[in-house]
Each structure stands twice: as C-alpha cells, then as structure tokens.
C-alpha cells in the first residue's frame, strides 16, 4: 500500500514537473525567438516624430492635438527660400490697408513673427519660437502667397516623443511620421525627404 502510495506520489510530482518544464520551454522559446526574428529590424538610434513640410496642409490640428500646451510644433523659416517681400503673405493678413507692423495687420495670432527692414525693398522675417503655437496660419499664408519658406516642424526639445503621437493620428494628410533619429528635422530648402529603402 505504502509502496503504491509513494509510487503514485512520485508519478504525480514528475508529471507536474513535466508540465512546468514544458511550460517553461514554451514561454522561453518566443523570448529567444523574438530578438532573433527582429535582429534585422532593430535600429540602435530609434525614431522621432517629424512633419514632412511637403505633405503638410496646415489644417491647424498640430496646434490643438499635441499633448503639450502650447504644442511642440513650431514654425521655422528657410531664409534661402524667402523672397524677402514687403507684402508678405505669411506676415500680413489678407487685404490689409497699410503694410505696417501694426498688430491689426499681422496674420500671426500671437505676434510671433518679427519684421526687420534689410534694404529697399526687402524685409527679413524671423520667428520667435517661444511665442509660436504651431497654428500654421503663416505657413498657409506663405504657401498661398509666397515662396513657401515658412514651414512647420516638431521641436525635438519640446516633444515628449510619445510612442503614439496624438497629432500624427489626427493629421489628415499623413504628414507626420517616424523619421530616423539621425535626421531629426526635414529642412524644406533641401527638398522633399527621400524615403528610406
């Protein structure tokens, strides 16, 4: 009787042993297989979110959807593309009566663009990043009536680099995507980004 008991007990423990060992192997296998499967698809430097200025349609979602307030999206100026116009589509509201720096004439709701006289008839426009809230009004203005030298970019210092970018999800023109961290900004003057193969 005792012999049978001990044999049964023995059998039991070995069966449980078997199940637990099998389970251990079963869960360890994917843990080993995963890095192997992804070994060719891993980047050491990672990604950041960035706006492709050539796809952006200035819908205004960047201003409101970013988890940061004010948005991490800011306007940047590619000076080499700028026409240095007196009548600037990005600086002045449409149909202004006088071309001046008066607040009532400015397109930017926060007054983040500074206008400076260079020489007749050229003016330089600089963006004060601290005031910019990424609404994209000036960008739209500059594209509608200008060279399109103003463009929106995500400032990587302010960006929290969320795993799931809220603006990217809302962007109607698919302009926001993950870009390799090696090239964190898409300079508009350099032309459209070449997609990675």
């Amino acid at each position: 009787m005792q012999d049978q008991m001990s044999r049964q007990k023995n059998k039991y423990s070995s069966r449980r042993d078997f199940v637990s060992k099998a389970g251990k192997i079963l869960v360890t296998a994917p843990l080993v297989a995963l890095p192997l499967a992804l070994s060719r698809k891993t980047t050491a430097s990672g990604y950041v979110w960035q706006i492709d200025p050539f796809k952006c349609t200035q819908c205004g979602q960047c201003k409101t959807n970013c988890v940061k307030t004010p948005s991490a999206v800011k306007c940047y100026h590619a000076f080499v593309m700028c026409g240095y116009c007196d009548l600037c589509g990005g600086y002045l509201r449409q149909g202004v009566r006088t071309i001046s720096t008066g607040a009532e004439n400015q397109l930017c709701p926060t007054g983040a663009i500074t206008r400076r006289f260079v020489e007749e008839p050229y003016f330089e426009y600089t963006i004060n990043e601290d005031l910019c809230d990424g609404c994209g009004k000036c960008v739209k203005g500059c594209i509608d009536f200008g060279n399109g030298s103003l463009y929106l970019q995500i400032n990587q210092e302010l960006c929290d680099n969320c795993n799931d970018c809220l603006i990217a999800r809302k962007c109607p023109s698919d302009a926001i995507s993950r870009v390799p961290a090696g090239r964190q900004y898409i300079h508009k003057a350099d032309g459209p980004p070449v997609p990675e193969s």
């Binding site: 307030t69 100026h77 593309m81 026409g83 020489e119 795993n163 003057a189």
Partner: protein, 424 residues
C-alpha cells in the same frame, strides 16, 4: 486710399495666377546690395539617444533591486520605496514614454510590417521585464512600472470583489492584449498608448477625457486596488503567463507554512491560494472527467474564437482612418451628404482618386480578415487553458501566492508569524 492699394491688388491677382504656373519660388530670391548675410537656418535641439539607453540601464537596475527586495530581503517598505522611485523617474521625469506596456505594440508593429524597424531600446523594454518575470515573478509590477506604482501608492482601503466579478474582469486584459496587438500589427492604432490613463497625470497635460479617466481609476483604486493592472493592463496578461513559470517567486512565509490562516485576507488582489483539500475518490473521478472535457473543448474554443473574430474583422477595420474616410466619401457619392471632416477635406485637396481610396480600403479589410482570426484563436485558447487549469490539483499544503496574479507587493509578509532568526 484705393489708388494706393491698387498696385498691390494687381500684383496679388497676377501672382495668384502666376503661382499656378510655378509652385516654388514665385518671388525671385533677392540680390542684396547691402552686406546682408542669410541668417543661419534655425537649427533646433537634436534629441540625444543616450537618455534612452540610460532608461534601459535604470530599468534593469530597478528590476534587480526589486527582485532582491521581494524574494530575498522580503521588505514591503523597500518595495514601496522602489515604487516611489519608479513613479518619479519613469513617470514624472521620463513622462511615461516608452514603457514596457506600450512596447508590446512596437514589437507587433515590427513583427508584421516590413517598413518599421523597432528601436533597440523599445525591444529591450519589452523583453527585460519578461525575463525577470521568468526568473522572479512579476517584480516589474511590484516596483518598476510607473502605472502600477501610482496605483500601489494610492490603494488605501482594499475591498474584495465578488468572485464572479473578479473572474470576468480579470479576463479583460487578455482581450485588450489580443485587440491591441491586432491593431498595432495592422498599423491602425496604438490603442494602449491612446487609452493610457495615467500618462496624462505624469505630464500634467492631456485631453481632459483621459485625465478624468485616470482620476476615476485612481479613485476606484483606493478601494479596488490597482484596477488598471488587474482589469486592463495587456502587458500584465503576458507577465501573468510568464510569471506562472517563474523559477524563484516571492513566498508568503519565509520558512514552512504553519497554516495559521492569518494571511488569508491580506492580499488585496485575490492572489493568495489556500491549501488544496484532499479530494475523495468520487470527487477525483469528477475532476478527471472535467479535465478531459475541457481538454477536448480547447480546439472548439479556439475555433469559435477565430470564427467570431473573423466576422468581427471588417468591423474592427472600420476604426482605421482610411476605411472611415472611404465610408464618408462613399456616403457623399451615394446619398449626397457632404463629407466635411478634416480627413475628407484633406483627401479632396490631395488629388488622390476615389478608386485608389476604395482599393486601399478593401486591402485593409482583407488584412484584418486575415489577421483577426489569430487574435480570436488566442483568446479561445487562453479560455480553454484557464478552464483546464481550474481542474488541476497542485497538492498545496500551505498558503501560497498565485504566481500569475501576484504583483509581489509584499503586503502579506507582515501577516506571517513565522520568524527566521538572521543568525541561521
């Protein structure tokens, strides 16, 4: 006045016409006569990736310390300290991104899409806590996860839920996991990040709905401790599976259990298992019968799950943006209801044809139909296995933590009267 403006109006009209001809550089670049130099292009801050690797190092260090505190040192106070540290570092300092919970999606996105390469840090964040779970149980939940920590530190007066409610709610993480992996693999949404309730609190900035959701969960968590971990967390579901096979797990008693039953109600997470009663011969027969029934039913559950999800595939595909947009455009075409959403406006501006959009829609639905049965099959399989597990007797003689459910929080330590003198 009008006279003064007239040339501008003419220029404006001319340029609008001219701009149609040349998209770029409508205005020639100026040739400056003064010694004006172009200002340097504003080159903003470049993100450094060192901090991400530092995160991985901190993660490994924190996991090691927590494992030591839970398994060897048996110090509840130490574990609370680790929770505070992780809440401050991973939560408030690193703003909760990236966390292992969200990395599940990066992994599935990389596995099923050729155009996404996973950052090494994200892969490590996914794997390292699982390795630790395989070695020491869910030490990640105990003191490293910032989402767990914020709930652990606010759970003051635990209340036990009815057994049935607990069982049903505890199955939600598996469903959430299956759906989240499916959506990430389909490149549709990162659901886990989107409905992360506490990341808004870490950043003190989020859509108000998420902040309210987080606050409500924390309020509920005062009584039903760790509601997110227990009833939602999809990474917890994976840890649950891994922890069941852990090599060395926290134990309630430092030595032999004397069955004093003092710890019976110590666990707010319903994770303390009572000793197994020795079954009678008749019960044993009944249990064996149940065991066989459930084993045979596992393939049936799996098939049923796969079928249900196969049919749900197109519904889930409808959440994807392209499919929703295609629906809106089709509605406009068929019944004249104007598509006014921002997506629709952008689509009309972008010059993509409707046929292209509808082909894309079909491709997405097809992808969902192909992939969703796997998610359903996984759910059916887990249901089957959990039912089989109910019928297995482990021959426990003392009180033990449930290795899958135990968060290694260490609340049960102080209830155990068994003492081991340090000299031994």
């Amino acid at each position: 006045m009008l006279k003064k403006l007239l040339p501008y109006i003419f220029v404006f009209i001319f340029l609008n016409w001219y701009s149609g001809l040349h998209a770029q550089d409508r205005f020639p670049r100026p040739e400056f006569e003064s010694d004006y130099v172009y200002p340097e292009h504003q080159a903003p801050f470049q993100r450094s990736y060192l901090l991400d690797y530092l995160d991985v190092a901190v993660l490994i260090a924190a996991l090691s310390v927590t494992a030591w505190l839970a398994v060897k040192k048996r110090s509840r106070r130490g574990l609370v300290g680790m929770s505070v540290f992780s809440l401050l570092y991973f939560g408030f300092f690193r703003k909760g991104c990236i966390c292992p919970v969200g990395s599940v999606q990066n992994v599935s996105l990389a596995l099923f899409n050729s155009d996404y390469s996973i950052p090494l840090t994200a892969l490590l964040f996914f794997i390292v806590p699982l390795v630790f779970a395989l070695l020491y149980g869910r030490v990640f939940c105990a003191g490293v996860c910032p989402l767990g920590a914020i709930q652990e530190l606010t759970g003051f007066s635990p209340v036990k839920l009815p057994k049935a409610a607990e069982t049903v709610l505890a199955s939600v993480p598996f469903i959430y996991l299956a759906v989240a992996v499916l959506f990430a693999a389909m490149k549709s949404h990162f659901l886990i990040c989107r409905y992360d309730p506490f990341v808004g609190i870490f950043r003190l900035d989020a859509p108000h709905t998420i902040l309210i959701f987080g606050a409500l969960l924390l309020l509920a968590g005062i009584f039903v401790n760790r509601p997110y971990c227990r009833y939602l967390c999809p990474y917890g579901a994976i840890l649950n599976i891994f922890s069941r096979f852990s090599g060395k797990h926290l134990s309630i008693t430092p030595a032999e259990c004397i069955n004093c039953r003092l710890c019976e109600n110590a666990c707010p997470y319903d994770a303390i298992l009572k000793p197994d009663a020795v079954p009678t011969a008749e019960e044993r027969k009944k249990i064996r019968k149940m065991f066989l029934t459930w084993i045979i039913l596992i393939p049936v559950f799996t098939a049923a799950g796969a079928l249900v999800f196969h049919n749900l595939g197109p519904v889930m595909a409808g959440i994807t943006r392209e499919v929703r947009l295609a629906g809106e455009i089709r509605l406009e075409k068929e019944s004249g209801i104007e598509a006014v959403s921002k997506d629709a406006v952008a689509f009309k501006e972008a010059g993509k044809t409707e046929d292209e959009l509808f082909t894309e829609e079909l491709a997405i639905i097809h992808r969902f139909r192909k992939a969703s049965p796997w998610a359903g099959g996984f759910l059916g399989l887990s249901l089957g296995i959990s039912l089989v597990a109910l019928t297995i007797r482990t021959g426990r003689t003392g009180y033990e933590p449930h290795r899958g459910k135990c968060y290694s929080c260490g609340r049960c330590f102080k209830y155990c009267p068994v003492q081991v003198s340090k000299k031994d």
